[in-house]
Amino acid sequence: MTDFLQNCIDGVMIGSSYALLALGFTIIFGVMRRLNLSFGPTIMLGAFGGAWLYLHFNINPWLVLLACIVFTVAAGVYVERLCFNAIKRNVAITSMVSSFVIWMQLEEIAIHILPDRTSPFPPLFASLSFEAGPFYVRSEYLFMFAVAVAAVFAVERILHRTWFGLRLRAVAEDPRAAAYMGINAGRVSVYAFVLVSVLGAVAGYLILAADQQVTPFFGLWATFKGLIAMMLGGMGSLPGAIIGGLLLGVIETQSLWYFGNEYKDLAAYLVLFLMLIARPGGIMGQRLVERRRLAFRRV
């Protein structure tokens, strides 16, 4: 039982970073009604930019974090302009395909920046272990969890307490009606990409700082983890993204402990497969779809 609970603690800690990745996918999906497959690679490119500065100028880890955010935001805005703004809303498949092409491009750029493929990545502080009875938790995972909780509250506040958040929700619900309100949907879309790029960069930094290395495959990894967490929680649902991320973390740590490393990802895919059969909208998505359907029927 102790092992099970310890795995749950570890899973929630790791899952909090998945939740941040899933939040990024969910916000873009909510606003654009399209999947941004190159979200992971933009985070990876930002991390490579930070790692390059760290290797060549030995800068402070906090500055590496800042550099990761700046590079990821730049890459995110590049993706938005090329794959989403330039392509009309009703051709979602074209956007998805073009975001996949940009994914390849971003990986190539990362390999040119650091040809060694695996590069060191600096942690923010030395690792410590906190113990409480039979349980323990590593400081970097505790920090990851705390940052994720703070980020979720910040996103909730931005979406529900700011003028930008209100416009973003309006564009997500009905872009044409938003245009009638004088809302510039293109600008809202750019700001949404900036927001999710910051979230992604912070999540990416925390994950890579725990591993202390970065490879070009991190983009693929981040896209998979974010997408699976989003689909588990429910596409388009912000609480669903958080629940999906935490659940994915717990599934992975439990299967790693009980079945071994080779079954970790397999278990996650199996749970996703079962979820899609039993509840195609994900944990929260079905309720979201139903609520929206009822609301639209009335108005």
Binding site: R169, A177, M181, G182, A295, R298, V299
Partner: protein, 242 residues
Amino acid sequence: MLEVSRLSVSYGQLRAVAGISLAVAAGEIVSLTGANGAGKSSVLDGISGVAKAAGGSVVFNGREISNRPPHHPGRRGLVQVPEGRRLFATLSVRENLLLGAGPHCGRRFSNSDFGGVVEFFPALQDKLHLSAASLSGGEAQMLALARGLMAKPKCLLLDEPSLGLSPAATEDVYRLIAGMRPLNIGILLVEQNVELGLSVSDRGYLLESGRIVLAGTPQQLLSDPHLVSRYLGAGENTPNHG
């Protein structure tokens, strides 16, 4: 205030509006009536920039605004209340109103913006925190009108405000539209019900197949044999409009 000259709107091969000209002055209510599919909503969409104008010009307060992105005219005080209301169903009444306030709302949410507008629509006063989806048809139309007024418009483009409403709710909504006169806002009112539209208007236009076929005061229009025979259900053998 609003001058539309030879405006055309096309959707692919289909020409919905074929070179119409009209004008709305400050404080004036002008109705644009016609049958289903005559192109009334396309005229409004062409003016506001929601639909691309294929030709002609739209001048608002001395500035050419045709084919500007749809969020531009709103910022200049030309606000469209679209057909079917297009409320944000998952947002609250208050949030819908705030979105209507647009650039006048500023960066922070403020209750001061509600002041005059909510007073004008007492039915909404107790429902600010409810979801827009919970409103009745009449209340939803009032919210759409109130949302239009939140932007402090100089000119309102109202598209079929009676659509889908009960007779009682329609009467309430039209009483409110007539009550907007003292606000000195120019109103271009699209209405399929000719008598209803003209009942609150200073002038009117009759649109058929994307062209204006009649223009004048309500008295002139309502005494025109063509309009009477085609839209008011009078005798079949009245002389053709010339």
